[in-house]
């Protein structure tokens, strides 16, 4: 079956979903992890995302019109994460429990300093307004381009470009000179 062509049977739908799942499991998990800050909740969120995606997969295929489905998947995770905090009256955890770089082996002082800098960046990401934080996660953890991020966030390409630019500048300011972040408003 050619990519973009609609599946003609239930078996083809299942095969396409399996392909989507295998291709994007790491994306959804990474996004979930950086949203909720720990592996346990990230697993929950990832499972819920794919279960919900499976329920609406056929419609999504029809409506995508051949476009990639990753933004749609991430949007599901995004909505579920919002519900996750609302239902459980939680806030994202202030620190990431152990991102890859934190558990990476190191041997020299410069590497330790580098790790501290990366940790400062991660802490800063967690303190950003929601929309800026999400845009950064999509760009840098998932490698999504502006158009994909725009689709996932339901914004225009131009607004997304501005959002990313502001998020990076704000974070750079926070890391170079740690201050309270109330001044950096959301781009809603």
């Amino acid at each position: 079956m050619v990519d973009g062509e609609l599946p003609k049977s239930k078996a083809e739908v299942d095969a396409r979903f399996t392909e989507l799942y295998r291709t994007h499991l790491r994306d959804v998990y990474s996004y979930s992890y950086y949203r909720v800050g720990n592996h346990h909740d990230a697993e929950d969120l990832t499972e819920q995302t794919f279960l919900q995606a499976y329920r609406h997969f056929e419609r999504a295929l029809r409506e995508a019109n051949g476009r990639p489905l990753r933004p749609w998947l991430i949007r599901i995770a995004h909505n579920l994460a919002a519900n996750f905090y609302r239902d459980r009256s939680r806030k994202p955890e202030s620190g990431i429990e152990d991102a890859g770089m934190i558990s990476a082996p190191h041997t020299t002082e410069s590497l330790v300093e580098g790790r501290e800098q990366l940790k400062a960046i991660l802490d800063g990401v967690q303190q950003l307004p929601d929309d800026r934080r999400e845009a950064l996660i999509m760009r840098f953890a998932l490698g999504m381009d502006n158009r994909e991020i725009a689709r996932a966030l339901g914004r225009t390409d131009g607004a997304t470009k501005v959002l990313l630019h502001r998020a990076i500048r704000q974070l750079e300011g926070m890391v170079s000179e740690p201050v309270a972040v109330e001044s950096g408003g959301s781009d809603e």
Partner: protein, 117 residues
């Protein structure tokens, strides 16, 4: 883009490196999805299941009994599921389909699990 900005973006890319999902989570999720696709098989409704109960309910206990809750379960079910249409075409009736499915589960378990241990 200035080199400072590029450097910061490189740091950001490093800090937000992709996170691999735990292996057992991938397997568990795959198994859940396989079960869901089995449940979604509405065509089975046409097989006059009332008389002999739903064979889908036979498969899971049988699969569990044969393969246990092992790392190979998802793979067994995936392979059994992949041949569902062939079995259905060859079956005379619902009982025959159920027997063929049980047979396939056993065969796949025997074929796959010893290699994985």
């Amino acid at each position: 883009m200035s080199s400072g900005a590029a450097d910061f973006e490189a740091l950001l890319r490093e800090a937000l490196s992709p996170v691999e999902p735990p292996a057992d989570m991938a397997q568990r999720l795959e198994l859940t999805l396989v079960n869901l696709t089995e449940l979604a098989q509405e065509e089975l409704d046409a097989w006059e299941l009332k008389a002999m109960r739903d064979p889908r309910n036979w498969v899971r206990p049988a699969a569990a009994a044969v393969v246990g809750v092992s790392a190979g379960t998802a793979l067994v079910l995936l392979r059994v599921r992949a041949r569902h249409r062939v079995r259905k075409q060859r079956s005379q009736n619902a009982l025959d389909l159920a027997q063929r499915t049980l047979h396939d589960v056993g065969e796949e378990a025997r074929r796959i699990l010893p290699r994985r241990r």
